[in-house]
Point group: D2
Chain length 417, copies 4
């Protein structure tokens, strides 16, 4: 539900600049990919890069441009081809069949993007209503989500290739990183407020409304769990000890044959990991990634700890300043919270109502962000979500601990307004 | 984790009487079933009645009797045959293969029960430690859980038979029922305490510890959703409108071909439903049952309402006296809460540690109880749980509503101590 | 298609005696099984023993008794419950659900058998038409087929039990066996006649008509392949060498994890095999059994030989006297012939028309018979058939060899009349 | 097994010309496809066009060029990427993953083809041994097989596209066709010889050796079954009558939801069919195509006829001159013969030994050829084969009939030498 009076910048020049910047970034991400790389779908969970390019353009067309009653679509056939999951918007290509669309070609899709950009520029030159302003922001945020999906999907595709190509020129570990901090950050019990309030700027419907939640005293590790930590878990038989695993997780492990995170390979000289920049030696100091919820949960049990709830995570993110290490948004962090509607949740009105709400079952919330998330797409209230068996996203974990209320809290008790 | 000082009755006569009563009830439930009826498994989710008889006996043997270091099992082969899911207790027959155990025969299993009863009586004549007292209570509660499972599993088996036999002599609707109440019960916002405290008497580990939780103002319908309500949902196209359904629910509906609750049959003269006492005409005033979470959630959305959280449900159960209709424990009630560990949860120590914790993912909590639940097995803190697609249990729903804090609350604001 | 003028004994006393003997044998076979043993279905391919008892009675009722236009079925509900696969005879319980029929009980099924026997005795006191005589013989042969199926199905069920019970008191290897013969029996090229002719006595429709077939010179091993032979194949890596396997066979091996015949277990003191009389040490001199077509074919390739065609097998059986060892009908023998209609095949008229013809694709022919086949059910034209991946029947193999026409043939060239 | 003394043209100029012509044809076939069209795999049975281009080149490299002991592969990585199923030639990409190979790019694959062509030209300038001559012919025949596969695979891919693109410029029905002949061609009983003899020119190993086979008197329809015929079958409930179907076929029909041949669409103005040249109105006079064996068999039963055996088909092709209509090689013709080794079959020696033999189970033989088969790839002994449920190839049927030996045969009895 959009805020009643929008705090968003309405001056069209600013909007257009912002739009251009986000849209250009998407094309930049595929600059190393060929048309062939961009058409193939490597698994039902993933989508082809070309589909991402087209779908994000379709989104602006379906949500904003087509609100004009006499709107003529750029190509009527694209309505079914690039609709992701909006039942209200008619027929669509089934998700596992996205990779069968060799036509329209990449160059036709790029032309489609260009035409949508032209039309959006014209549309932004006019005034936007409150709901239109919200949908415009939604479109940009939506595209930023797909930027990260595009990278993780391309990584999966290339991981299937014996040639192990390079997806993208940037990996966080290519530049030297700051050291880890060590230790825990402790929080006293109390009522906290989480979630996005009406005047906080853009947020997805699933982040709203702001709400009170009681938290017991707890602590979070200052650092994320690292590859080095994970190796110790593996060496201690972590993947062979059912006592560490949720029942569904243990079944999944056996079904899929897991014995390490995704993209790890045991070589004669040690472990390597397949990354956006290709196959590299495993860095023990880097945060572990490509682990499922089941694995993250088993690790936490092995470590005598637990995963944080999403409320604990958000409270910490809002009230701990720079207490956490700079590893913070290198990988998404699994929480122990199932993805569910907030108290008082209501879906965005209109065509965007299917955006989030209908996925609120069977998935787990991740918080934070990854190195592949655009920096202006991060916010403390953000809720990412995946099924507990999925691990092709850039997902890792941070440990949490119950603490007795008699222990001293690093962070003072806090006020709720 | 058992309470430090137990409030349970320690006088062995009382314990033995209680034990005898619970154990006799289980045998009474199968009095209408033949050895053939009791050996077959109709689906992986369900277990044969004979297995229930044996497993509940095995539980006392594995959890209590075998604590004596020189204990000799009644039959060493039964350890693997009747272990349900305890990895720490060794090999076991896979769940979908429980129906292959034609041996030991029913009469051997009944002998096994008798021998366990004899040994338990001897054991109860001695003093019980705190943990043993807890495990004894756990064994009785465990057996009561299986009493209900036995009935719902037998109902499923017989529902597959063209002969539609009778499972059991009792259905709630065989006696006249009180009228429904109508209307809502409203609750003011505030901090509430839910969960079982140490001195509250027996509770499963998943109900503990007691904890504070913030609740916004809300209302619950006084009555459960009825078959008549559900017919209106069906007539309004409820099973054909994707806008009402969670995405996973819509996929499940199509995969399994749902267009009504389980066990409903459309006949020439109206709907019938298959029940423990056989095929009967659908009673529009009876609570709907055998609906999945997906269906319950879709219904709530259709009705402009939602399912309650488990905290809302428990708060209402504790603070509303007899505000709800007597339909209250006729069917289990789906909540919108995913089954997850409570803040501060720790599993029961020792062999019972796998009892609940390892299932805390992918399932949804149900509250209340059903007509098939033993009356002394009901308590406001009780957490039942099923996968959102399962519907062979006696599960229904009650609707909840958000209310504005400016509306008057029927129930006063409440204190938390 | 029945013979135009039947050579079958028409004197009713003889018919009744024969009927009684076959029917009594079936009940004798289940004398060691409990009602629980007889109700469970261990896999979709197998059927419960109780179902076999009922279905074989239903067959007489559906094929013969119900030909009287005013016939009243013993129990109308049994028509759907015990129909195996006759589409023309109405609705039926799906094959994988046969094990869900806990009702009617075993004692009801035995009563049903008794009533069918009473009615059949009355019917046999009247004269039989040619088609009725054929259907009567068909019913007896059908029941004999199910006698063997009953044993192999019960063996599969009990093989799933950790208790490994005894199915039946007889195994061929319980008595001392004659020695193997060694060597080959050689046959000259020529035209041969295979298949059952009109006046040869009873045969299934799939054995007819008699027909000419050209055979190149060939040889058959005098003995069946033994467990000892198979061990050498295993020790030589037979289950790990793709060059020996059909492509579909290699995929099946991997999917099902085969590394030995079914029912073999590697113990610390050598291999054991699970048999009708329980778990016994593997006898190297006994014919190997419970191997699939894929395994038989791979073995033959490993041995530098091949499986015989069914025509070669039948020609040998008709023209070689006692050239083969007495191992001959201890296990069914896979041939390389796909199960297909003979030239000139036409299905039996009427309700029995679905008996064989509709299965004539995707399966391979086996010839001979096993120790579990009734002795008066064996004949040289008999065609048994299974899918190439199935191996729960008593199936083994004999090797064949191409021979040059210049080599001397043991058996003389033969005449075709 | 290659012929002992080859009748093939050894003059290198002729060989090189022939090689060039076949290789050029393959590239011509993809002239209407984009790199994107050529990388995607639409189902596990089909392969991407790019893979066909690369694999056919790899075949020459693996079978011929790499026979030189000091041979350096064009790119060592391609050995695993473009091996289809040769276990003896090392690791390979699994069949369902062929569509994940976005790299090497199409242009790299075309360069690979060019380099193989260059090397092959050099190799052909030298003398070829007998086996090399055979492998050279095998490589050309192999490429011709893939030319047809490429078209049928591309047709399947494009059939999944809502845009229904054009695969290729040629369909047989684009030019006017000769009229059908009507009637039957009749053959007397006798011994016939089928299969390829040593001196008959190139043949695959599965066509050899020539062999005698006894044939009863039979007739073949002069014409193929047409779309018009098939419509009558459909209108008569052919897809709804289990009596017409093999048991496995009936199950497949229900599983896959068949109610017409593949690629047929029922529109408001009649049936259309998707073809290489796009969606066109159904031509009732054209041979039906894209029907499975199960459908062909059901049709034949409906028509009171049967499918021919492959021996009947081949005998007719060799001995009937131009008795059949010119529809003859428009679509492949299902036979009732399971794909099995001929009497005396032995696989080609060496690396090509896996070419045919390991597929000789579970599939049915088709004879003739289709409009998409290169004209110089047709021969009367040719054996094509597919699983009975497959129908994406250009496959149809011709009916056969048993005839009494007393009826007059159109074709005289024949001699076998």
């Amino acid at each position: 539900m959009p805020p009643a009076s929008s705090p968003l910048p309405l001056a069209s020049t600013v909007l257009v600049e912002r739009y251009k910047r986000v849209r250009a970034k998407t094309l930049d991400l595929v600059s190393g990919l060929s048309p062939e790389d961009m058409v193939v779908q490597s698994m039902p969970d993933a989508s082809p890069a070309k589909w991402h390019l087209a779908h994000t353009s379709w989104f602006f067309e379906a949500m904003i441009l087509s609100r004009d009653s006499d709107y003529q679509p750029v190509d009527p056939r694209f309505q079914a081809l690039f609709n992701s999951y909006y039942e209200a918007l008619g027929q669509r290509v089934a998700r596992p069949d996205r990779g069968l669309m060799t036509r329209p070609s990449l160059s036709e899709v790029v032309s489609y993007r260009r035409e949508i950009d032209r039309r959006m520029a014209a549309r932004l030159a006019q005034s936007l209503s409150t709901i239109e302003t919200y949908l415009f922001e939604l479109g940009l945020n939506h595209e930023q989500q797909h930027q990260e999906l595009l990278l993780q999907d391309a990584l999966h595709l290339f991981s299937c290739s014996p040639l192990k190509p390079t997806v993208w020129r940037v990996e966080p570990r290519t530049a030297p990183r700051a050291f880890s901090k060590g230790g825990q950050v402790r929080f006293a019990e109390g009522l906290s407020v989480i979630g996005a309030a009406k005047n906080d700027g853009f947020a997805f419907d699933n982040e709203m409304p702001a709400q009170r939640v009681w938290l017991n005293a707890y602590a979070l590790d200052a650092d994320l769990v690292t590859n080095g930590d994970w190796l110790r878990f593996m060496e201690d038989g972590g993947y062979r000890n059912p006592a560490l695993w949720l029942s569904d997780g243990w079944a999944t492990l056996h079904q899929l044959g897991w014995d390490s995170p995704a993209y790890w390979t045991a070589g004669s000289t040690g472990w390597t990991i397949y990354t956006l920049t290709g196959e590299v030696d495993l860095d023990p100091a880097a945060p572990v990634r490509h682990v499922s919820y089941y694995e993250a949960d088993a690790y936490a049990r092995w470590a005598g700890a637990r995963l944080p709830t999403e409320a604990e995570w958000e409270h910490a993110a809002r009230h701990s300043g720079n207490a956490f290490s700079n590893l913070d948004t290198e990988v998404w962090q699994w929480t122990r919270s199932a993805y569910a509607p907030y108290a008082g949740f209501s879906p965005t009105e209109g065509t965007a109502s299917e955006y989030n709400g209908k996925f609120m079952v069977n998935q787990m919330v991740l918080r934070g962000g990854s190195f592949a998330t655009p920096r202006d797409h991060l916010r403390p209230t953000y809720r990412n979500f995946y099924y507990p068996s999925q691990r092709w996203a850039f997902c890792g974990l941070r440990l949490a601990h119950d603490i007795s209320t008699t222990e001293e809290a690093t962070c003072k008790p806090f006020e709720v307004t």
